[in-house]
């Protein structure tokens, strides 16, 4: 499939501060998580995607267009900015209708599309109240409504989850899942990794302005062979289990946490470990209570890569 976003040797700097440094990335349609530590160039990349800035060198194509002030692209693009900035004296409905009218729709369809979008984000009873009275979660959902009201092909969301309480965060995530399923491509930048992982397996990791890793979390984890896999076991008799595990050839080390009774096992070959475990468990009868490999989590991958 044709990539929705294609960046070749893209770099952008402000004075001596480097934003992006020779970034080459292709993003396929679907939901993609854009990750990276603070100051890695994520927000610079977002601003270039939305056409708020021109690249200093290299080229960038979004849906086949060069994004800066490109009216044709903006018809198919929705942007949900990070700052919590809205027109406080307008109501939610007026704001989204205003945005739709600017996109060239006449008053009736604009109002209809706006109320549909606001219903979809669960703001139907608050949409006629001025935005100044909205909670942080409601403002975030209003911003999102204006991003997908005109059913764009691609929605770009910059840190949509920070500062939201769990209730609002759930609703926004559900919304993104629904949009993803309905065929709209999504690029979401966030620091709340476990939320991003619950939304999509495909991530793009940017660090110091360059592409560090791309693909599904599991595949990236496989590539990181230098890091042994970590497994956590809880058992009634952890010492017996530990002794037995050490006999397995591919187990590097087992550490026992006395306060929580957890057993941390590091192994070179995770498949072999999983294959041998059932036999070992039934043989030692050490009463395993839980077996978790938190290693494939996005947090762990992020740690190994970014450190």
């Amino acid at each position: 499939m044709k990539p929705i976003i294609k960046a070749t040797a893209l770099s952008r700097w402000y004075g001596e501060v480097i934003g992006l440094n020779d970034l080459n990335v292709e993003i396929q349609p679907g939901i993609t998580g854009l990750l990276g530590p603070n100051g890695a160039g994520k927000s610079t990349f977002m601003k270039l995607l939305v056409g708020e800035m021109r690249p200093s060198s290299g080229s960038l194509e979004v849906l086949g267009h060069t994004p800066f002030a490109n009216l044709e692209l903006y018809g198919q693009l929705g942007f949900c900015p990070q700052q919590d900035a809205l027109y406080d004296h307008m109501s939610g409905l007026q704001f989204v209708t205003h945005c739709m009218r600017l996109a060239g729709h006449n008053h009736t369809d604009a109002k209809a599309a706006a109320s549909r979008a606001l219903q979809r984000v669960n703001l139907q009873n608050a949409m006629n109240r001025p935005v100044s009275g909205y909670s942080k979660g409601m403002r975030q959902r209003t911003k999102l409504a204006q991003a997908f009201a005109h059913t764009p092909k691609l929605i770009i969301a910059d840190e949509p989850l920070t500062g939201l309480d769990p209730v609002a965060r759930h609703q926004v995530l559900e919304l993104y899942r629904e949009l993803g399923e309905s065929g709209t491509s999504l690029v979401i930048s966030s620091h709340v990794l476990h939320e991003v992982q619950s939304l999509t397996q495909r991530i793009v990791l940017i660090h110091r302005g360059r592409l560090l890793a791309q693909g599904s979390v599991e595949d990236i984890r496989q590539l990181l062979s230098s890091h042994p896999r970590k497994v956590h076991l809880k058992a009634r008799d952890p010492r017996a289990l530990a002794r037995a595990l050490l006999e397995l050839p591919h187990v590097n080390s087992t550490t026992l946490k006395e306060d929580t009774g957890d057993l941390h096992v590091e192994t070179r070959d995770i498949q072999a470990f999983h294959a041998d475990l059932p036999a070992l468990a039934s043989r030692t009868r050490s009463g395993i209570e839980s077996l978790e490999s938190s290693d494939a989590s996005l947090d762990a991958v992020f740690d190994y890569l970014v450190g």
Binding site: G51, E52, M53, P81, Q83, R101
Partner: protein, 279 residues
């Protein structure tokens, strides 16, 4: 083209509403009322044909009109930029020039109405008949007994018209200048204040042809050309005597040309420029 006009009209309505609810407008109202109050007090002591030119020229045209239009005009671009709502407009398939023209239209309408009302207020306050006129006669007596007789209550009407046109033109011009500066520079308000009171104040007040570069010069020619100024104090000040070089129609033509050029520069500028919103 229709979409351009439609979005321009939409954005100007939005700017109109946000202006009317903002604190700027209260500041402008105070500025508009000030000359009226002064004219009211002055009316008790001086004859209208003396106060109106004095207040009109020095207070309204040189201070109040520019200040009001700068306050309103500088918010055309910088207001949305500062509270970051510009992203919603710049990621829409609308021409950015429509954003500039639309909001400029709303600001110009607001500032010209305010300043026109303020000048009307000045004229009304100066000519309002009041018992205070009694002591006016006493003042006249010392300067020559016969003058008391010809106290003329009403004002030569072309002086009033002159003040109104000059004030409105001042509003239109200065709103565009501050909006244009807003397109290119971050601190539009301070820059336009500097331009109006420092640069123009300097250019317009030294004799010589450099006066033609300043808006004030043309405003003066608009205002002073409209009536014979023999009796009023303005003729006594040498700088102003050169103002009558242009008739009001010539001055209007030149200002019109300048207006168009600035408008085009602003429209193209806003399309090309990258607006970085610092976090």
């Amino acid at each position: 083209m229709l979409h351009f006009i439609q979005s321009a009209w939409l954005l100007s309505r939005l700017q109109m509403r946000s202006l009317l609810f903002s604190r700027r407008i209260i500041f402008c109202l105070l500025l508009a009322i000030a000359p009226i109050v002064i004219a009211w007090f002055a009316g008790a002591h001086q004859h209208a044909s003396e106060t109106v030119p004095f207040i009109g020229m020095f207070l309204v045209l040189q201070v109040i009109a520019p200040l009001i239009s700068l306050t309103v005009g500088s918010s055309v671009v910088t207001e949305e930029l500062e509270n970051r709502t510009i992203t919603y407009i710049f990621t829409r398939p609308t021409d950015r020039a429509a954003f500039f023209v639309g909001r400029l239209l709303a600001s110009t309408v607001v500032s010209s109405i305010l300043i026109a009302l303020s000048s009307l207020g000045v004229i009304w306050a100066a000519t309002y008949p009041r018992e205070g006129m009694a002591n006016l006669t006493r003042v006249r007596k010392r300067r020559g007994a016969n003058e008391m007789v010809e106290i003329v209550r009403d004002l030569p009407d072309d002086l009033a018209v002159g003040l109104l046109t000059a004030a409105t033109v001042a509003a239109v011009m200065y709103t565009l200048i501050s909006a244009g500066l807003g397109v290119f520079f971050k601190r539009a308000m301070i820059l336009s204040l500097a331009y109006t009171f420092a640069v123009e104040g300097f250019l317009a007040n030294i004799p010589g042809s450099t006066q033609k570069l300043s808006v004030q010069f043309y405003l003066r020619s608009l205002f002073s050309d409209s009536h014979e100024m023999e009796a009023s104090i303005l003729s006594k000040i040498p700088i102003l005597s050169e103002a009558t070089a242009y008739t009001s129609s010539e001055a209007l033509a030149r200002l019109g040309v300048a207006y168009l050029i600035c408008l085009l520069i602003g429209a193209f500028g806003i399309r090309k420029r990258q607006y970085l919103m610092t976090s």
